[in-house]
């Protein structure tokens, strides 16, 4: 569902906006209020070239406090994290970080996490790795793995249970 379908009757959510702004201040030293809608971010946005993401509109909706409308829209999951908006913003704000905050907020409020993110997180919790090392094929058609390439086993957490407990405790906290 696009954002515009949802915002017509919306009420600003000031508390959540404050929470997101506090987080940006703490993690990135950014003040999202400084955005004046020049849309330089959107003009360079890598996702905008193929998808419908318009970073300056995200900034405008944040300023209006229309958070749940963004939370419930899949548009926040189209950012490619290319960091161009952050690099080029004349006001030193970063839609990429706002989108990151919105996605984290969406997950924490229980939306269905899209794509393979749940699998990736599960793998990190159970292995400490994004995935087990995969086999690959050489151009003569033979199959290679770390051992046959002389790389030895991949470095991995010594005690996965300890890692899982540490991650579980940190993951439920707020920034």
């Amino acid at each position: 569902m696009s954002i515009n379908d949802q915002t017509s009757m919306a009420e600003p959510q000031k508390e959540i906006r404050q929470e997101i702004n506090d987080r940006l201040k703490k993690l990135q030293d950014e003040v999202s209020e400084f955005c004046f809608q020049c849309a330089k971010c959107t003009s360079g946005c890598e996702a905008h070239k193929l998808l419908e993401l318009e970073p300056h509109k995200i900034m405008a909706l944040l300023k209006r406090g229309l958070i749940d409308e963004m939370k419930n829209s899949e548009i926040i999951w189209t950012c490619m994290s290319c960091q161009k908006c952050k690099e080029r913003c004349p006001q030193k704000v970063a839609p990429v970080d706002v989108l990151m905050a919105l996605k984290n907020y969406a997950v924490a409020s229980g939306i269905e996490v899209p794509g393979k993110y749940t699998d990736m997180l599960q793998s990190i919790l159970s292995l400490g790795l994004l995935q087990e090392p995969q086999e690959t094929m050489a151009n003569d058609g033979s199959t290679k793995n770390r051992e046959s390439l002389g790389l030895g086993p991949v470095s991995r957490p010594a005690d996965v249970n300890n890692l899982m407990m540490a991650l579980s405790s940190i993951a439920i906290e707020k920034v």
Partner: protein, 273 residues
């Protein structure tokens, strides 16, 4: 593989500690605290092993670690919270480690002149397109290995080994790999568009400095070209591989036979000695 071969040739001692984990960059969208914890954890593992310098060949990992350093240096409270959780793994993060990306290592630490002096098989002046990777050069605020809008370190390294470069309109374009988790078709189109543009401009190859981008341009090249209806395969090599060839390292040791693109063509472009 290529990194492990090149480091001893350049006179860098490398050790490979146990106990590393994922850096967490790819789950930052889900929960950024997990990324901060995992990145701090990897640096703490190095601290525990008495290592002061980490060479991080992957731009995504390098950004995750750099950003974590920046955030934890700026917030004593967050650092304390991360360290409380790290204590359950008998680890402690102080922030004492220095990070090196491939560009830092080759251009700043080793130096272009030294690389030039070690070249055994100089290239014959082929012209390649360079691809730095978004996270290699942005955001400047976090401290990146090269300039965000006009990166030049790769061009200087390549010049030293007899390879020419030339600016092209799509140089800073993104491969889109960050969307592989939830919108896998989009990155293939992004990747295909850039490869098509490079082929159209007659470059002999593409040289990348980010393993995650490399996966898109090399491993997924056939599918990416299909999405833009292009039949022109582009040889794609990582910077470490092409430098390794010039240093006289065996191409199989550099993993050139594992590239999916016709990368081995590149190895033939050295001047006959």
């Amino acid at each position: 593989m290529a990194a492990r071969e090149i480091l001893p040739v350049l006179g860098v001692d490398a050790v490979y500690p146990e106990d590393f984990s994922c850096c967490g960059e790819h789950v930052k969208s889900v929960n950024q605290l997990i990324t901060l914890y995992l990145s701090a954890r990897n640096m703490a593992v190095c601290e525990k092993n008495g290592l002061e310098n980490i060479y991080v060949p992957c731009s995504d990992c390098h950004l995750a670690l750099s950003e974590t350093k920046r955030v934890l240096n700026g917030s004593a409270e967050l650092k304390e919270r991360i360290n409380t959780a790290l204590a359950s793994e008998n680890l402690k993060y102080t922030g004492a480690v220095t990070l090196y990306h491939t560009l830092d290592l080759l251009h700043d630490y080793i130096g272009v002149e030294k690389i030039k002096s070690l070249v055994k098989k100089p290239f014959n002046g082929i012209t390649v397109a360079t691809h730095y990777g978004c996270k290699t050069i942005r955001p400047t605020e976090v401290g990146r290995p090269d300039n965000a809008e006009n990166p030049q370190k790769m061009e200087k390294i390549l010049t030293a080994i007899g390879v020419n470069t030339q600016p092209y309109p799509e140089k800073l374009d993104c491969c889109g790999a960050s969307l592989l988790a939830n919108l896998p078709e989009t990155p293939l189109t992004k990747t295909g568009q850039k490869l098509k543009a490079i082929a159209e401009q007659g470059f002999a190859a593409m040289v990348d400095a980010c393993p995650w981008c490399h996966k898109m341009y090399d491993s997924k090249q056939a599918k990416a070209l299909e999405t833009v209806a292009s039949k022109s395969a582009v040889p794609v090599v990582n910077l470490l591989q092409i430098v390794g060839i010039a240093l006289g390292i065996d191409k199989e040791k550099l993993g050139l036979n594992l590239n999916s693109s016709p990368a081995e063509k590149i190895a033939a472009e050295v001047t006959a000695s």
